[in-house]
Subunit: 183 residues, 2 copies
């Protein structure tokens, strides 16, 4: 407000800023792990149902929810990498990681939007996975995860890392709000 | 920071505060509509698959994702009602809707958490619904939404209102950040 202009950039807290950069790096790492586990989720087997054999091919790209998860995680990894590079270069130049209020709003908006997107992707994927685990109760179908346990494990790990990444981004967004409320 | 104390409660903007209350009311309404459409999603029919008849009973409570959506929407409706009542009573007493920075942080945290929860519930439910629409591509199963179109319509409307409610809460959260950054 009236008292902002002079305060921007005056108080540097290197530890807090280093923490932010570490969180960005962790977030990028989690997204990349989520992508790699999802991309390797593939298994083929067959299922004996009502006495005749159904072939089961499971691959991540068969489900739109899993495709969505990979897309969102890739976008988050790119966003985190960009912020990490900008932040690190500013940090090494000994200038404040967040140069202005407008920049802080931009980072907050990005973090917030990507955190929502990750939450959405993780939930959509785990909704589908949950269905795989319990079988579909509309009809008398069996549990798909018993014959396809490797596939299901990969998907579950990928979803876990997606939620971790979402949590890290949400924390970044809250840090942005704290910054905005203090400057 | 240093110049906050005196600014809290000095500038009232009745139109902005009235807008906030209207958004709370809308959010509550959307959540209630989402709950009511989901609770009435029920249909029974039968499906001719591979030449023999499969009975299909679909009800919202068969899917954990739909149960989760109802639970989260109910919590959001309660949160919105509470905030609406507190806000309206403060508004009518001609005092500021947000009395202090701590209160603003509390509202922001609540809005943020519930917005994430709604995003998660909506996405989980639409992941499952999407599966219903396209059939499950792991196996050669047909599209469940053709015989069960009334059920699928109810679920789709419920999910749409859940996302609307999420959008309204996210907007409330951003308004909270604007308030925090200005006071």
């Amino acid at each position: 407000m009236e008292c902002n202009g002079t305060m921007v950039g005056t108080r540097r807290r290197p530890w807090a800023e280093a923490m932010q950069l570490i969180m960005r790096a962790l977030c990028m790492l989690c997204s990349l792990v989520a992508i790699s586990f999802m991309l390797t989720a593939k298994e083929s087997t067959s299922l004996n149902i009502y006495g005749f054999i159904l072939p089961l091919h499971s691959k991540w790209s068969f489900s739109q929810s899993y495709q969505y998860l990979v897309g969102v995680s890739a976008a988050v990894a790119a966003h985190s990498l960009l912020q990490l590079l900008i932040g690190t270069s500013r940090f090494l130049k000994m200038s404040s990681v967040i140069p202005s209020r407008n920049h802080a709003w931009l980072i907050f908006a990005g973090d917030q939007a990507f955190a929502y997107a990750l939450m959405s992707a993780g939930s959509a994927a785990s909704g589908v996975t949950n269905l795989n685990h319990t079988g579909i109760r509309h009809t008398a179908l069996p549990n798909f995860c018993k014959p396809l346990h490797k596939f299901c494990d990969h998907v579950a790990i990928s979803i876990a890392f997606t939620f971790t990444s979402c949590f890290l981004l949400a924390t970044s967004a809250v840090q942005g709000v704290i910054w905005l409320s203090q400057h």
